[in-house]
Symmetry: C2
Subunit: 185 residues, 2 copies
DNA sequence: AACTTTCTGAACATCGTGTTCAGTAATATG
DNA sequence: CATATTACTGAACACGATGTTCAGAAAGTT
């Protein structure tokens, strides 16, 4: 790929990242991104059709990093015993998120939260598969799945919204405690 | 209040309600609302500063209806035993929601989901107060609260998004089952 | 009937979006 | 190094939505 393209693309990403630390996504203007990235107007539009497409691609990249090494080959986890594996896995995801905190925080705060939720949900579905099948609760698989994923995402949102005051391991502990119920220990 | 004002306001509400059955909120134009309501442009703006303010007021009204009779005087509920009271209360809320299904569905589907979540969360905080204090789980009150409310809202969102295929009582049963854990029966 | 309030709608200023295009600069290729 | 290719530039433009203004018409009130 042409070096110029790489440079431009990076400049746009960096510009948006920087602007996201100050302003919510939907309050950021394409012109602002262009100015911050120091590129020409038509250059931006030759890379991305719209501002939303840019966000879409950024989110995609971000989540693929966050989840990249947490989806190890199937069968390599032990979800049946004391849940040590799933704990480590979820904790790992939270560490990644706290690295991207400024970005994710700004994205989540605005209306683009929806996009965040969608991606998060998609990736979690793969991650939680085994955990869910090991829960012996008398509700449909579908319901179990939405409950586990939904409560996890809302927990993470809450964690970010209140400023990451707890450590990832504290959050995961509390989450699993609530999920499995106090009497399950 | 002048009859003309009432008429206008109602026309605007009805117009938005009708448009929401076809299109997401953020894809609806002020001009469309004006045309559908059959009023003059400046009339709209003399009633509402922006389209968002209109949505805000509509949501407010909707939720105050949904929760109106579910917040009975304190102490009149029994949340300790078999949870019959809280079950009835939550079920009641879901029935209201299914009445407003077209509206709520469209609002939730779009980016304005955020507003929905905020209102829902505020109202639920009052409703869930007692239930939470009766859960003996070893996590902070704050965490318990966010977990209970967050998982409930995500469950309701899922319920609406998948087309209200279960009855309110089924949803509440499954929700409480998951929340308290299978081993708590 | 006189007075007050609301509604009307065209005209306007403003802003953001996305496109176009001729000119310029960087890069790849032989 | 010369040439062809590809990418960047930025002003100009068309478009669409927002929100304001204001003088006149219509409806409501007393």
């Amino acid at each position: 790929m042409d070096r110029r393209q790489q440079k431009t693309r990076l400049a746009i990403y960096d510009a948006l990242t920087k602007l996201l630390t100050k302003r919510r996504f939907e309050d950021i203007t394409v012109q602002e991104i262009i100015d911050e990235a120091n590129i020409g107007r038509s250059t931006f539009y030759s890379h991305f059709e719209t501002k939303d497409q840019l966000l879409e691609e950024m989110c995609n990249e971000m989540f693929s990093h966050v989840f990249s090494d947490s989806l190890m080959p199937e069968g390599s986890h032990d979800f049946s015993g004391n849940h040590a594996d799933i704990r480590a896995l979820l904790e790992h995801i939270l560490w990644h998120i706290s690295d991207h905190k400024d970005n994710i925080g700004s994205i989540m705060y605005g209306e683009s939260e929806k996009l965040f939720t969608r991606y998060f949900s998609e990736y979690l579905e793969k991650t939680f598969g085994e955990l869910i099948s090991h829960m012996d609760i008398d509700v449909s698989e579908e319901f179990k799945k939405q409950f586990v994923i939904g409560s996890f995402i809302s927990t993470v949102k809450w964690w970010i919204a209140t400023g990451l005051k707890q450590s990832p391991s504290e959050i995961i502990n509390d989450y699993i405690t609530c999920l499995l119920g106090s009497k399950a220990g």
